[in-house]
């Protein structure tokens, strides 16, 4: 191959303008034993490119098909379905108001209300008698007030005795 051509190609190569074919030509040229001394620099470069091109990946890659997740996926779907069903049943069974009660249930309800009312009235009577007790304690307080007057009186008496 003509030296001029190689030099031209190298110029293009340095500017990043060569095509893949032209680069292959250069690689072929520099894989020869002897090259022009002033082009010697390029030799290791192109040889290195050719050499590393052959390096291979030799490690084994474990490719296991995935399967374990699908079981859990369906299990969670089933669990949610059961949960929703349970909630639906709970909500559906709840009585909503007095209108939904049967005759017997209504009667029982009224009887309990009556019983509670009776209890309440008894309580009211109890509180009335406690009122009487409160009245008594009030008069007792008045009595103690009067006694304190007596104490004051005796104080004054003592002062008079001292003055004498």
């Amino acid at each position: 191959m003509v030296l001029d051509k190689i030099e031209n190609l190298l110029k293009k190569y340095d500017n990043g303008e060569t095509t893949l074919q032209e680069e292959q030509q250069l690689k072929n040229y520099f894989s020869k034993e002897t090259v022009e001394p002033h082009l010697e620099v390029y030799k290791p470069m192109f040889n290195y490119f050719l050499q590393t091109q052959k390096e291979q990946f030799t490690k084994e890659v474990p490719l296991e098909p995935k399967k374990t997740y699908t079981l859990y996926k369906w299990l969670s779907v089933a669990a949610i379905a059961v949960l929703m069903f349970a909630i639906y049943i709970q909500v559906g069974n709840q009585p909503l108001g007095l209108e939904d009660l049967s005759q017997d249930e209504l009667m029982a309800y009224n009887q309990t209300v009556e019983a509670f009312n009776l209890l309440a009235s008894k309580f009211n009577k109890g509180t009335e008698s406690i009122d009487a007790l409160a009245l008594m304690s009030e008069s007792l307080e008045k009595g103690t007030e009067n006694v304190s007057y007596l104490g004051e009186f005796s104080n004054a008496q003592n002062k008079i005795f001292k003055n004498e």
Binding site: D14, G16, L20, E23, Y42, P44, M45, Y48, E55
Partner: protein, 169 residues
């Protein structure tokens, strides 16, 4: 998709993924781990693979992003010890010994390039992708790729010239 079908799709470019990962992560072990992880990711998304127009380009993009992420997190984790005023004189001797193997030097010089140039040089000069393909993989326009490529090639040549002269003297 069966394992065999998947492997048929992946086999032709798994080495390219590995080489790009190695270019970026440098260590062979890390590159192997990265490649493995990318292939597993592809396998997990095997239903979608048929929808992709170009699985290979997609995988290369994935590899690039994955490795750059790795590098980022590594930089965040590791504290670098930098000796700014310390020079190891043994290095120059070692350098001269290694100079004999100039091909090794190319890989060392490439390690020092900016990541963008590294990726583009790898994809073009080693994997021999067309500019249009690289443009799709990296989502950069072709002129920018040419500029980056030219810059990378020139740096590579200049540094090689330096070490070359150094060795001759």
């Amino acid at each position: 998709m069966t394992q065999a079908e998947f492997l048929n799709i992946v086999m032709p470019f798994k080495d390219k993924v590995f080489r790009l990962a190695k270019r970026l992560l440098v260590s062979r072990e890390e590159a192997e781990d990265a490649t493995q992880e990318i292939l597993i990711k592809l396998w997990k998304n095997k239903q979608k693979i048929q929808d992709y127009k170009n699985v290979e380009a997609f995988s290369m993009t994935m590899t690039k992003n994955f490795c750059l992420d790795r590098l980022k997190s590594k930089h965040a984790q590791n504290l670098k010890i930098v000796h700014s005023n310390y020079q190891d004189h043994n290095v120059s001797l070692q350098k001269q010994l290694e100079l004999n193997d100039s091909v090794d030097w190319v890989s060392k010089i490439m390690e020092e390039l900016p990541e963008q140039q590294k990726i583009i040089l790898q994809l073009r000069d080693i994997e021999q992708y067309e500019f249009s393909e690289i443009s799709k993989m990296l989502n950069i326009n072709e002129t920018a790729i040419r500029v980056s490529l030219s810059r990378g090639r020139k740096i590579l040549r200049e540094k090689l010239t330096k070490t070359h002269n150094y060795g001759v003297r």
